[in-house]
Amino acid sequence: MKAKFAALAIAAAVAAIGSTSALAQAKEQFFPVLSYRTGAYAPNGIPFANGYVDYLKLINARDGGIGGVKITFEECETGYATDKGVECYERLKGKGPTGATVFQPLSTGITFAVTDKSFSDHIPIITAGYGRADSVDGTVFGWNFPLGGTYWDAADMLVQHVGKKEGGLDKLKGKKIALVYHDSPYGKEPIALLEQRAKMHGYELILLPVTHPGVEQKATWLQIRQQRPDYVFLWGWGVMNSTSIKEAVATGYPREKMYGVWWSGAEPDVTPAGDGAKGYNALVFLAPAGQGQVHKDLIKYVYDKGQGTGKKEEIGEVLYNRGLVSAMMAVEGVRKAQVKYGKKPLTGEQVRWGLENLSIDDAAIKKLGFTGFMTPVSTSCVNHSGEASASIHTWDGKKWVVQPGVYHADTSILKPMIRSSAEKYAAEKKLSKRDCAKEAG
């Protein structure tokens, strides 16, 4: 009896999940939001997701949608785990009148897994500041958009910065640079570029992986104490970041010599270490901390109406702003695609055209209210990333202070690396490269 009831219940559940939900063919653009609000990476995932969702709400509240098409969205908890991310992807890719608009997994591991599916599912994947470094090449990775920069760009700019500090890239010879990285595709991505630059400039690269979740770093920092590198690059995420800074304090490594990638330089990473984090540096790209016109709009249209996703005091933090910018670029991609395809719900393929023809210049940035929080981005079929640029910001104990000076990634080094890596991928997967000229004309 119990068995029969259980069997019936399971059958009913399966049938219910299997049946496609009948959606009214409304004028809606569906945005899936892959986020993580639980687990070891929640401290960083929560502000980003809040920013992302808040911006979507703002577009609906302030502008009535994109060109009159309302935005609908649904969050899916991935916990930074690749398999859950893939499951969320599969569940949400068909939702909405025209399917999912764009995916932003906020995880390089999930990006790797979902990239393979993008070739048959035809849904663009925006990986602003993360993801595969070789996905800049739009002829192979037709659906990936690492807008604003990749990890090779980030590593390149960090090397340029420490080179500048030493008085010239040639002065790096004989120096030691340690990379403390999260033992995942995210952390391993910059190694190729750092090794390349090591060959060019003669510095010694020390690789120190930290296993998920990254709370055990005593041995790592003891090794750093032993080897005394001149600089430590931190490529961590979640709890690993704050633990690194704490262990640096405990082993007496000067925080001024630590440089985090743009995902290791936010408030949740430095506040747990208290005063010990003073002097810690990180890259900042696209959006630094602070508030501008768009934040005023957010308060007026979203928070004052009680629709805010997070806490009002937290808007304007580094990761929150980055979430805003990521959502903004997705929305602008849709808007650009609407110019060609009309003001209606668009499919992933149509949105891809928009993302490939993005040209957000200073005037557009001002119109959107992002002045000071965005650098211009323009993409093409061949270059899915735009020009990468970043600055360094330092934590002074209470807030992030952006140092003067903007770095640009050295494309002469990066272009050949990207091309060879993309071609290797295409050969492995037996893909044919896109013909951009043919598709445009």
């Binding site: 120190l208 992986p209 005593k218 041995a219 003891l222 709890v239 304090v249 208290g274």
Partner: protein, 333 residues
């Protein structure tokens, strides 16, 4: 001598392993002591968690996989309550919460499963782990929280005239070691001198005999779990002040498992000694053996400490299948 040769051989091998870095010239020499101290400190932290395991297993025969989740839950309670009330009050309140939790676990999970086999009880505590993880994060949140014990975090350089390079020590590590020692001393006193302690030891020895002389088993189990909860609280506070209180803290407790199997499931002394051995072994291996392996096999980085503790414990188990201080298991056919 003849009977104990495997243990002695293993011990000798370990001592040689410990001495090798010194022999091959570690520069500076003070660094070796730092790694040793770091290992001992980590070992103390593991021991604190392992104490909880040993206590519960000793008294009720349950392998409490949820000890890690209890450490996390206690740490979260202290961290969040300390935002509202002074720290000492937060600790007291958290103790009350852990005792209540212990009572609930005993009533809801353990009592219905009293005579089940070990695997079922292990699985039940795994269920408790999942439940506590979700419950703790729902109640207290998923962010990183601070526990501020008021100890300076900056390390101090000592003995720099005596040993080249000096030794960097952390005051916090020292305090943690003192607290752990005090806890063990307190627990030993509790078990040896008080009547409740005697009752606990009686239950650990033989449930049925203890019951037949009138010791209330259920109440004893609640007391044991409450004491284990308090131990988890101490572990949580110390871990939390060092590493920050966040969800991933419960996974560090998995590292305490090799400690209990090395020391013996039922032994408190084993938890301490095992913890120190595992802690030192792990850090030494990671810092000195790791780079050697990386160069020899062209590995993508070290990280051997994740499995070294287990392999070390496994080696000990092959030599002494019940752990260093565990009770010998007699099979009746």
């Amino acid at each position: 001598m003849k009977k104990h040769w495997p243990v002695l051989l293993l011990g000798a091998a370990l001592l040689i392993g410990l001495a090798l870095p010194l022999a091959t010239g570690v520069s500076p020499a003070g660094f070796y002591v730092e790694v040793l101290l770091g290992g001992l400190m980590t070992g103390v932290l593991y021991s604190l968690v392992a104490l909880g395991f040993a206590l519960i297993f000793k008294a009720s025969g349950v392998f409490n996989f949820a000890q890690g989740a209890m450490v996390l839950f206690a740490a979260l309670a202290v961290a969040r309550l300390a935002e509202q009330v002074p720290l000492w009050l937060a600790i007291v309140l958290a103790t009350v919460i852990m005792t209540a939790l212990a009572w609930v676990i005993e009533r809801v999970v353990l009592r219905p499963l009293v005579n089940q086999e070990a695997v079922a009880l292990l699985m039940a505590t795994l269920g408790v782990t999942y439940f506590l993880d979700g419950f703790g994060q729902t109640v207290w949140g998923s962010d990183i929280y601070k526990i501020d014990l008021g100890i300076a975090k900056e390390p101090v350089m000592i003995l720099d005239k005596v040993i080249q390079g000096g030794i960097l020590v952390n005051k916090e590590d020292f305090v943690a070691a003192m607290v752990a020692a005090a806890l063990v001393a307190g627990l030993t006193l509790f078990f040896q001198k008080t009547s409740t302690g005697r009752a606990l030891r009686a239950v650990a020895d033989d449930h049925q005999a203890a019951q037949s002389i009138g010791i209330p088993l259920n109440r004893i189990w609640v007391i044991v779990w409450a004491v284990a909860g308090f131990v988890a609280l101490v572990a949580g506070v110390i871990w939390g002040s060092q590493l920050g209180v966040q969800f991933s803290l419960s996974q560090v407790a998995l590292k305490a498992l090799p400690v209990v199997i090395l020391g013996g499931f039922t032994s408190i002394a084993g938890a301490i000694v095992g913890g120190l051995i595992i802690g030192v072994g792990e850090k030494m291996a990671e810092v000195f053996l790791g780079p050697v392996l990386v160069k020899a096999f062209d590995l993508a980085g070290g990280g051997i400490e994740n499995w070294f503790a287990y392999v070390l414990a496994l080696l000990f188990l092959l030599v002494r299948p019940e752990g260093l201080f565990g009770e010998k298991h007699i099979d009746r056919v």
